[in-house]
Amino acid sequence: MPIIEVDHLTKEYRLGAMQGLKQTLLNTAARLSGRQVSERPLFKALDDVCFSIEPGEVVGIIGHNGAGKSSLLKMLAKISTPTHGSVKVNGRIAPLIEVGAGFIPDFTGRENVYLNGSIMGLSRKEIDVKFDEIVAFAEMGEFIDTPVKRYSSGMQVKLAFSVATSIDADILIVDEVLAVGDLAFQRKCFDRMEDLIKRQGKTVLLVSHNIRQVERLCSRVILFDKGRILADGEPSPICDHFYEQNDEKVRKDTAAKLSASSKGESSGDVELLSVTFMDAEGTPIERVEFNSDVTLCATFRVGERLVNPIFGLGIHTVDFLYLSTEISENIFENRTYEPGEYVVSLHIRNFPFLPGVYSVRLGINTGELTKNIFYQEGVCNFQVTTANRYRTQSMQEGFVEMKGEWQLKSLA
């Protein structure tokens, strides 16, 4: 028998601000007198979702922000009520929806452990028994009688996680908690989660944006998008699919405008018109195939005579980690370019960057001045893709291919 059954679940929210008492009364009066009232539009946070979870399954729930993950968890935890459809849960749920819910800043750690424990359904006696273990796990021994408001946020989360996982529930809901605390504590949380899952056979729902974590812990992944289930099944292919979707989104979002944090300067003598990639045949492309030959072209207009220009074309990640830069030193020496439009291109053989989203930076200076006459980061975002399925997970394996050669031989 499934432990969680979700049947045609739909959740609608009204968009816009809540109406005040006055507006509500006016609307009611209008409705009573038979006039039309303008309703605020509805938003479907979850749209006809069906799935069921068997006991002992560890299910990862992934999706972009606003895909409906949190709404779903709220429905499972009975915090919110479905608009249509039903949710059946056959067991005790320990919600970890944002640990530390209900921590009171003025209370000491000890008082909060008792308060939080009883909010989660533990009796005072049960907490007495588990208290030492909770404190020991959170490594909070010496601070337990200090008000929580004096704790660092990491300390609060450690304590909260410790309380929440000590509850003897059948179903554990974990919402983005493993990403907190220092590395050593994260390791400990991870071990405890694995212990709960593997040895105690608990059913776990894990919501995270850390896809690698989801892939490692879960036996099943459900991918949500705009309130619907996009995929449900084996973790690896779904996570890969999600990565690709993610990259695509990053590229689209950032392509339109230059990122606010990108640096740039220009003397005004040079105006950048466009930056594009072309494949080996010379046709412009939006995506670059990993390990293929491509040409990176920058079109620009020169306003004032350009003498001995030096170009720099570099590739960086969307969070501005510079990966590589090519500089055209000594190549365009002793040349003068009259005002007009030019294309500078850089041919790259066996494009070496692994699948993911990257960006381009461009710098131009002249031999006469040490200062850049043009410099701009993030001028063109592009996505690198590949058909090789071992290489689909973007940026998990690093950024660059080493082109190494493997060998395995017997020493005997």
Binding site: K78, I79, T81, Y114, L115, I119
Partner: protein
């Protein structure tokens, strides 16, 4: 009804913990601590006693200060229970959005919390009784029943008010005003006996007098305050005729108020 009771029993530990939280939170870092709980009835008692010295209110053979204090105890308990109950859901937004347990626990806990402060006021009352040389009689055994009834009256307002307050914060603003009006419509400053004399004995409003008196006692606080004074100070049983109209009113409104709360509860987390 039975289901409500078993539900509450299952959550008794949580309610005790939350009530303890409310009290501890209120008095933490306050130097005078829980002594603040007596500040309100004691100050009001002093003010009313002062006012009485120029207005002249007939208090019978009971000294006015202790009479008014015995009225202020159930009144303050009712008033603070009702207004804390109304605000209890909104002020626990963090919990409402994060975790589920029956939401009626919030108003109920708010009312239970006030019992502790009421208990402290009993010490003051005992002190006053010693001062005036009054002995309690066996009728004080009525006190728990009267207080339980007061809690039901407070919950009647708290349930519906707390639910409305989630949608319209106007409720939280309007309630203190309404409650302070209700104080003048309750026998706090003056004893119920005055109203009784005017309407029932002197028939001051002519043929409307008896009806007006019933209307006055529909306010459950009229019966409660009078009964409390009777059993504690006058060594008399409660005047049931003054309590019945209010009791009928509560027994009709409390279930309605609770049902409204339960219907609205499903959307608290979405709206709050």
């Amino acid at each position: 009804m039975l289901r409500v009771a078993t539900n509450l029993y299952a959550y008794r530990e949580l309610m005790i913990t939350l009530a303890w939280k409310n009290i501890a939170l209120r008095y933490k870092q306050a130097y005078l601590g829980i002594a603040w709980a007596i500040l309100k009835p004691v100050t009001l008692m002093l003010i009313f006693t002062l006012v009485k010295s120029f207005v002249g209110i007939e208090s019978g053979d009971i000294p006015y200060p202790i009479l008014v204090f015995a009225a202020l105890m159930p009144w303050t308990f009712f008033q603070e229970s009702a207004s804390d109950g109304v605000n209890s859901v909104v002020s626990n937004t963090a919990l409402i959005k994060k975790i589920y347990f029956p939401r009626e626990i919030f108003p109920i806990t708010a009312v239970l919390t006030k019992l502790v402060e009421l208990g402290i006021n009993f010490i003051i009352l005992a002190g006053l009784m010693v001062w005036y040389g009054m002995m309690p009689s066996a009728h004080v055994l009525w006190v728990p029943i009267i207080l339980a009834y007061t809690m039901l009256a407070a919950l009647t307002i708290a349930f519906v008010g707390a639910a409305i307050n989630v949608y319209f914060r106007d409720m939280g603003q309007a309630l203190p005003v309404l409650l302070s009006l209700l104080m003048y419509a309750s026998p706090v400053i003056y004893p119920l006996q005055l109203v009784k004399d005017k309407l029932l004995t002197q028939q001051a409003a002519g043929e409307w007098s008896n009806m007006l008196y019933t209307l006055y006692t529909i306010n459950p606080l009229a019966g409660i305050i009078d009964a409390f004074q009777n059993v504690v100070l006058r060594s008399q049983p409660p005047d049931l005729t003054a309590m019945i109209p209010g009791a009928i009113m509560i027994s009709i409104l409390l279930p309605l108020s609770y049902l409204y709360f339960k219907r609205a509860e499903a959307y608290f987390a979405d709206v709050i």
